[in-house]
Amino acid sequence: MSNANSNDLSFVRTEILPERTPPTSAIGVVGWMRANLFSGWFNTLLTLLAILVIYSILSVILPWLISPTWGAQSLDECREIIASTFGPNVDKACWGVINDRWIQLLFGFYPSELYWRPILAFILLWAALAPVLFAEGTPRQFLLVTALYPFVMPWLLWGGTIWTPLAILAGFAIAYGIVRLGASMIGTLSAIILSVVVALIWWLLVAGPLAGQLQSIIPLALTEVTSRDFGGMMLSIVIGVVAIGFSLPIGIILALGRKSNLLIVKALCVGFIEFIRGVPLITLLFVASVLLNIFLPPGTSFDIILRVIIMATIFASAYVAEVIRGGLAALPTGQYEAADALGLDYWRAQRLIIMPQALKISIPGIVSTFIGLFKDTTLVSIIGLLDPLGLSNAIRADTDWNGIVWELYGFIALMFFVFCFSMSRYSMYLERKLQTENR
């Protein structure tokens, strides 16, 4: 059949029909609603139910939230304002308490003229975490901040002379120097043992007096703040960050120990991990508050926040160990075999091949462990520390605000929600990123 012939056929169209608009019921808002909300009797029922639920919740909460009581100085004043604006017997929020106490909920009883210190520590925290959180795109110089942060943060928060953290840092420098120089002279192993011994002697015997001497020569010190004044969100963040920071190296060692084929080492690690994971955090906090001083030599006593941080670190390290063990297990066996085939010894293989990959896989898990720990820091209110929840009880004990319930709980819940939600979103983003990279 030729072309010319086909052109003659009257039923073959030569031009394309103009596009017609789809029926109005399939496009736009209406179409979307038909597809997503009312696509059948069951779906319609669900939608109506959902609307009912949302309405019944919002109709209670929204009118309660909208309340012009931001400036009130006490609950009675709130009630007067509400009564004069809306009439008697109207239940409305009293926002005066948040206006009055939000700073306290953030910082506890930290001296108000020194608020710049926790704020600076918080900002530096992000700089220190940058190489971990956003691995690409951070200049290598940030690693220096990361390395120095463990020494800067306690100094900023607790204050005191700058020479103490510097003396402790010097101990690390000395140990590192001995390893670097001594490795060629007396062998790696002896150098490591020597460096540990020297560093311990330095910290236990030399560092304290030296810092005192230097302080008397060149006084460089921040005002000291006792742990008793720590509180609020700051306390939660301090406990969470310090505990997770210290638990990382401990967790790595525990995870390696659990995977090792040395029987005794493995048994010790498994026993430790399962014991810690088997008991609730609150019992460990009880141990911190009543028992830890009994375990230490007579006469030792350090403050409760430090004890809580120790127990939180022990608690977190067991969970981090399990997360890292998961990361180690997720690595293909080929990686281990390749490392062996290259002739790397155990520690080199771990450092160069296994750990970089395993830790990368475990970061989302570590972040969720951190979220869990951060939420669990509220438990310290049970042993009498003034975290946000503990502070809320203290605030309600004040005669001005006696009877306030929902505003405080709501505010604290909101603070935790903002932190935890953003961290979990970050962890999800990271998981997605890692997934595409592995494919």
Binding site: L46, N261, V265, G278, P280, C420
Partner: protein
């Protein structure tokens, strides 16, 4: 011709303990063991010295002394003259009670939310996302005290039920009283019951309950037999006989018969004096803890269920449909077994978390093992070391038993790989 011989035997040198891989492992282990034992010895030594300074000797004798405090919510008989050990046991039962109740509710809620989150209905899916994110991103302790505050502030006091024209009235056909002290629900009573059975003289178990449970399990066993017979018939003939009415009858009718024979009736709570009497009384603290734990955990369960369902690839469902299976059999035979393999291990670890979180009962005054043994008993006797060790041991036992069940299940359903 090449001849092989063993390499010359080296004599043992001490340096081989470190540099020879054959011996290095042993060296490291011995060093680790010595280090651990030293640490342990150091701690025990310190403890002994500190306790000696305080004039105390570790002993568990205090457990037999009278406790002297009341427990306001008990499952079995308890007076304040009973021993500390019995008080601890009451606490343990309370822990288990709230853990079991919480796990059940969290599972039901979590499965519901998890499935609804996958709904094609945009509004419902978003609503469930909000539910999950709200509840899991706020500390559980906050939810517990928050729920407690709601129960106290929102519900009427028992006095509101009094008078001819009371402010509050009982719910569900005048049978359930919801007050700010707790909830009273009708209790089952038996006119012709068998009475209680004493177990070793320690506590009493209702014989009626045992009889009812025995009949129920016999019914379930019978229903299982019926199903197996249906399977056999289906294998032989290809036609599956209808059995559901038969099974249902096997389970329901005997239990009903026993209940009628025992003379079941309900004891309703009634306002007498300042408070309600009769019925089963659930304290606010129990309800707050139970609700908060279940809702908090259900958010995690929902995510687990959602992940489990998503993990079964669509091809599986399509293949099952192509084989001619009906939708509910596709669900039962193809999707659920695969999804459960993903769901169950993290689900059980959530149960573990819930059980451990139930120790937060102390924040609302519910007397669980933390509140009795590690709370009041500790404060009264001052035996911190013994009570805390015992309490941790109990929690550890619970956790390890749950893990053992998990490992057993895991090994049972694990895919057999090469």
């Amino acid at each position: 011709m090449a001849s092989y011989s063993d390499p010359p035997k080296e004599s043992f040198r001490p340096s081989m303990l470190i540099y020879d891989t054959r011996y290095r492992g042993i060296t490291i282990q011995i060093v680790a063991l010595i280090g651990f034992l030293t640490l342990l010895g150091w701690i025990i030594n310190n403890t002994a010295q500190n306790l000696a300074d305080l004039g105390m000797r570790p002993s568990f004798g205090f457990l037999m002394e009278p406790a002297g405090y009341d427990i306001n919510q008990t499952l079995i008989e308890y007076q304040n003259q009973d021993s500390h050990l019995r008080a601890a046991f009451i606490g343990l039962l309370n822990t288990l009670l709230v853990a079991v109740m919480g796990c059940a509710t969290a599972t039901i809620l979590g499965v519901l939310v998890g499935i609804l989150r996958l709904s094609k209905n945009w509004l419902v899916a978003r609503l469930m996302t909000v539910y999950v994110e709200t509840f899991r991103n706020v500390p559980v302790l906050l939810w517990i005290v928050f729920t407690m505050a709601i129960l106290i502030e929102v519900f009427p006091p028992p006095s509101a039920f009094r008078g001819d024209d009371p402010e509050a009235s009982m719910a569900v056909f005048d049978s359930v009283a919801v007050t700010n002290r707790g909830i009273y629900v009708p209790e089952p009573l038996f006119t012709r019951g068998f009475g209680d059975l004493s177990v070793f003289g320690l506590f009493e178990i209702s014989t009626n309950l045992i009889v009812i449970l025995a009949v129920l399990f016999a019914g379930i066993w019978g229903a299982r037999k019926v199903r197996q017979r249906a399977d056999r018939i289906q294998n032989a003939t290809g036609v599956r006989p209808t059995t559901w009415h038969f099974s249902l009858g096997l389970i329901v009718i005997p239990v009903l018969a026993v209940l009628i024979a025992l003379g079941l009736h309900l004891g309703y709570p009634a306002l007498r004096g300042f408070n309600f009497q009769g019925g089963i009384y659930m304290r606010n603290s129990l309800i707050a803890l139970w609700l908060a734990l279940s809702i908090y955990t259900s958010a995690f369960v929902a995510e687990i269920v959602r992940a489990g369902i998503l993990s079964v690839s669509h091809g599986q469902t399509e293949a099952a449909s192509a084989l001619g299976l009906r939708p509910n059999r596709v669900m039962n035979l193809v999707v659920l077994p695969q999804a459960l393999r993903v769901i169950v291990p993290p689900l059980i670890s959530q149960y573990l978390n819930l059980t451990k979180n139930s120790s937060l009962a102390i924040a609302v005054g519910y007397m669980d093992i933390t509140g009795t043994l590690m709370g009041i008993t500790l404060n009264q006797t001052g035996r911190a070391l013994e009570t805390l060790l015992l309490g941790m041991l109990i929690y550890l036992t619970i956790s390890l038993s749950i893990s053992a069940v998990m490992n057993w299940y895991n090994s049972r359903v694990k895919l057999v790989e090469r």
